[in-house]
Subunit: 408 residues, 2 copies
């Protein structure tokens, strides 16, 4: 059961000038399932992406990187039901074949198409089913199909994920809309399992790569469900430039800051949605680590807690077995950490200080916080001024069930 | 259900000259449970240990390190039901109080006593229950109480763990006997949750520390259940010197090699028993990585597979969803790994090569291996001659159940 998460109202996902989306059923895994999404971008759109660091990266990830370097992007094609990962040379050929077919249909170059796949690893991409379904996806293209696209890219997700923001840049209204999917194999290392955020803002191409990285680092790169980094993680930022604002060319200016803030808001909402909809989730957990020497060590400690099966099963049980949090902090790999100086809070309750349980702490206090559906663990390292926040969910019977039965 | 593991017959655990063991009930967590173990060592015994790298290391671990550096060790005292971890200064004081009481009873110095605790973290050690039970443990001391001790140090373990070997050194019969406990919070980083191996061989004190480290590195440091490194991991090697062999002084000689081999056999059997008896285990998995540049990168890849909740739930389901193994190899952190060069085998079946599924592989082959209770995953990295093996178990509903209900 997703934690405090419902699918966005279709009308709440605002169209972005220059972006049209179309959906179709290719019957990749199950007949009738809407599993194919085509996104058309207007001429002049700027596109940048960040991708998984997994060495076994999927064929479409490799092709995306090549195409982003080669040409202006005019279309994205996304299939679920098959990840086209662990598929070798033949996988690359099939990803390219899909791009060729889309290019022909859309009247752009093959390099102008970005392919994305998500689903089972190690099985050949069924291009014989995808190619015949492309015309239907093209015929479905519309500016207001964000909600349908959010649905069509889901795999084990229970709830479709999307968010929009409106802002003004240089007196012009600007829109930011994003969709994402992801529920399991979530521990992004660079980006996450398919996130797409588009804006109609105009922005200099030279700023796009840093912007997508900065947004990913505070959103998709701060979430984990099971600690497994996917082979297909891709986060794509699109700027169509159709809002009519004078193109943003300066990262120090207010316009850049405003756009980045809106993009981060959308991306963080999508990333949190992944943890809220994490496989088998019954609780949404925020792990906030502060007072570190740098952000990296804060993140290291936060991820150690967020990944620990022992911590996650205790939260599932609503059991304030908080020694497990201390153990995770201790093995996080911060080798000179002074455990006597740090403090641990569960919600607002001080749990641990001076290397042990706080004198003021009572089991009843911990048990009360544990009953909540959304819980913050706060760790104060007391050795610097850096901080980092990671979002995750608990570990339930249903996580095991979902992943034991994934292919059945 | 432990995988192909039963408790050792009491008679199969051979007495080690110079070692006596006594058990008592202190009622630490549950009344009547035999939860206190005393081990007496003859004068002249050599003792060395390796301990957890967890920064939140337990009070007894800190005290053990101090006492090992200070004095010849004459006694060990072990309690279950409480880890005395995350207990700050008061925890250290209580561990020392326990050592003082044992020292008084046994007629040795306080520094001659090593304390060990295992159980719940973040709760004060109930010395008021432990101290009154010590005389009963002392009265119970006997050379043939290894089996009872193996029972008494268990926590969530279902099966008691112990092993013995006999060998000859310099014409004298030598015995090696070890016991261990561990079932959850198992991902030792240096040693594991309470392992004790004793021999009556005579060996120069200068060789002990390297020997205990070498033995731990191929046994307890090669097992994981849930990826959580405990606060209390301790592996202790005892050499009483009572076998009458000329003391081993040379690590290059045949005697050292023979003793080390016997110690490794016992330690590996105990380490494997932890994975076989891993919380909720239904399958015992061996992850063997070979062809690496060095042992460290082989271990990194093996642990990435062994820790992955997605891999472990697939094994629980007997589902050859082997793309998850590729994904884990890919995110293991070997940044220049050539995924097209490596091979993956499930049992004897070639699963993946050339970056994808092997042409010869069939789902039926994979499904057949997955039915077995003991499964080897072999990864050939094809970039060097180093190798490493890690043992683990699958991830089942019962893991969640055991850890959700741990304190109830």
């Amino acid at each position: 059961m997703p934690v405090n998460l419902s699918a966005p109202e279709p009308a709440s996902l605002l169209p972005v000038a220059g972006v049209r989306l179309g959906i179709a059923s290719a019957g990749i895994k199950k007949p009738g399932r809407r599993d194919l999404t085509l996104i058309e971008l207007a001429a002049g759109s700027r596109v940048a992406g960040v991708f998984t660091q997994n060495r076994f990266c999927a064929a479409p990830v490799t092709v995306c990187k090549q195409h982003l370097a080669a040409a202006p992007i005019r279309a994205l094609v996304i299939n679920t039901g098959n990840a086209n990962a662990g598929t070798g040379e033949e996988g690359l050929a099939r990803a390219r074949r899909t791009c060729e077919a889309v290019a022909e249909l859309m009247g752009c170059t093959t390099e102008g198409v970005l392919p994305f796949s998500t689903g089972v690893i190690l099985e050949p991409l069924p291009v014989d089913r995808i190619l015949p379904a492309l015309p239907a996806a093209r015929a479905d293209l519309a500016p207001d199909h964000w909600s349908e696209a959010a649905q069509a890219i889901m795999t084990t997700d229970i709830v479709a994920k999307g968010a929009s923001r409106r802002l003004t840049i240089g007196g012009r209204p600007v829109t930011v809309t994003g969709i994402a999917k992801g529920s399991g194999m979530i521990h992004p290392n660079m980006a996450t399992m398919l996130g797409f955020v588009a804006t109609d803002a105009a922005i200099a191409p030279a700023l796009m790569q840093q912007l997508v990285k900065d947004v990913a680092d505070v959103s998709f790169n701060c979430v984990t469900v099971d600690g497994d980094t996917s082979t297909n993680d891709s986060f794509i930022l699109i700027a169509t430039g159709q809002a009519g604002n004078a193109a943003i060319t300066d990262t120090a200016g207010a316009d850049y800051a405003a756009l980045k803030a809106a993009l981060c808001e959308v991306a963080i909402e999508l990333a949190q949605a992944m943890a809220r909809d994490g496989e088998g989730a019954t609780k949404f957990m925020t792990i906030a680590v502060e007072g570190g020497r740098d952000r990296a060590e804060c993140k290291q400690v936060a991820y150690a807690i967020a990944r620990s099966p022992l911590v996650k099963t205790a939260f599932f049980a609503s059991d304030p077995n908080l020694g497990r949090i201390l153990a995770a902090i201790g093995y996080a790999g911060v080798s000179d950490l002074d455990v006597n100086a740090l403090k641990v809070y569960l919600g607002d309750v001080l749990v641990a200080e001076n290397g042990g349980r706080a004198a003021s702490y009572t089991e009843a206090q911990g048990a009360a916080v544990m009953q909540e559906a959304e819980i913050t663990v706060r760790v104060v390292l007391a050795r610097g001024s850096a901080s980092a926040t990671v979002w995750t969910c608990d570990f339930s019977y249903d996580y095991v069930k979902i992943n034991a039965e994934y292919r059945t």
